[in-house]
Symmetry: C2
Subunit: 203 residues, 2 copies
Amino acid sequence: MSKQGYHHGNLRQALVASALALIEEKGPTGFTLSEAAKRAGVTPAAVYRHFEGREDLIVECARQGYLIFGDVLENAWNDGKPTALAAFSATGRAYLAFARQYPGHYMAMFESGISPNRSTELSKVAERADRVMEHATGALMAHLPRDRRPPVAMVSAHIWAMSHGVVELYAREGNRAPYAPEDLLESGIGVYLRGLGLIRPDY
Amino acid sequence: MSKQGYHHGNLRQALVASALALIEEKGPTGFTLSEAAKRAGVTPAAVYRHFEGREDLIVECARQGYLIFGDVLENAWNDGKPTALAAFSATGRAYLAFARQYPGHYMAMFESGISPNRSTELSKVAERADRVMEHATGALMAHLPRDRRPPVAMVSAHIWAMSHGVVELYAREGNRAPYAPEDLLESGIGVYLRGLGLIRPDY
DNA sequence: TGTACATCAGTGAACGCGCGTTCACTGATGTAC
DNA sequence: TGTACATCAGTGAACGCGCGTTCACTGATGTAC
């Protein structure tokens, strides 16, 4: 953590940090290796001591993002406590909180055009986040009678889609709706879960 | 439509067309004015006879996109016939069909970072698409008793979010789910509408 | 029908710029003795 | 503790490239007479 002298010591992570800040500001394609190096107080050529090139640096940003993302979702799910329903709702809120709190990571993960299958390293961490979501969904669905229990992967995909859509359309500058993204996502998931029969209808 | 001689005659629209193709291939930020000009068989400088610059060309792509988008949604809604529910469902399918059929337009509209408020001209066409969605949603909600009728704008936003999320996450190369985007969106909206009480629960 | 001419869409050369990447180098570091 | 030295992280100059934009120009067009 401390400056370890002339040889920067933490350059690799410092580059990731400045790359993330840049991606947040200018989008994944507006990001340049040279600018990231400059912000880390270093020559562009120094980057090549730690990364294969521009793309590799973005991939590392995404990788670290998936790690945090997985943790955030897992903590929110909290083993389905106090109830599966409450924990699931918390997981939805956590999705949006992550997008807000780590916009650079989020963009590197979902808007950089980098496929999670780009490297085994990357797909591993991406799959972990997927598993957390599917596990939570599965636990929630266990409360439904077998005969009206839709496929877990499908429900999980619905939730992902709604969450991602809210982030992209309503949690960016230049809002489109008169609702806070948090309220929008919470109410949307609420209606959806009622449609699954997981929440009693109030009629 | 026909080549009108040496003075290209249709250059403005030809530039839009090649810009759209480029955006589709390389994303909105990978698109360059020079390449678009080259594909239209013309010098980069010629672009400035028809557009103020790079951004202005993207804006025109988005504008034409919103025009088509509005038409597509309106045709799908078809005045709520045969039933509001069936027409609404068709509108959801139309959203995805538009994203598939006009990927360049879709990207210029939603992924280029250009705000619909950038010009009055642009916000006008964007608002029209919005109005179609809200109108359809409103007509559908009229089937609900007043006391459990959520705000139209909120429901409309939920549907937009789910649709957009499905497009972004599951209708791009490098699929993530084992479901066709069309099925995913249709089933997702189905569950959601059931949650609103617009479809009888089957239990 | 034929000629002179104004229009203006597209040319082509030029500009300054920042990009990603390479390369031989330098000099602070920590270690061996 | 003090000195010699191998390591290797970061330097700085250079590269070729394509970008967006400008400018004076050219030459096909369609119109006036």
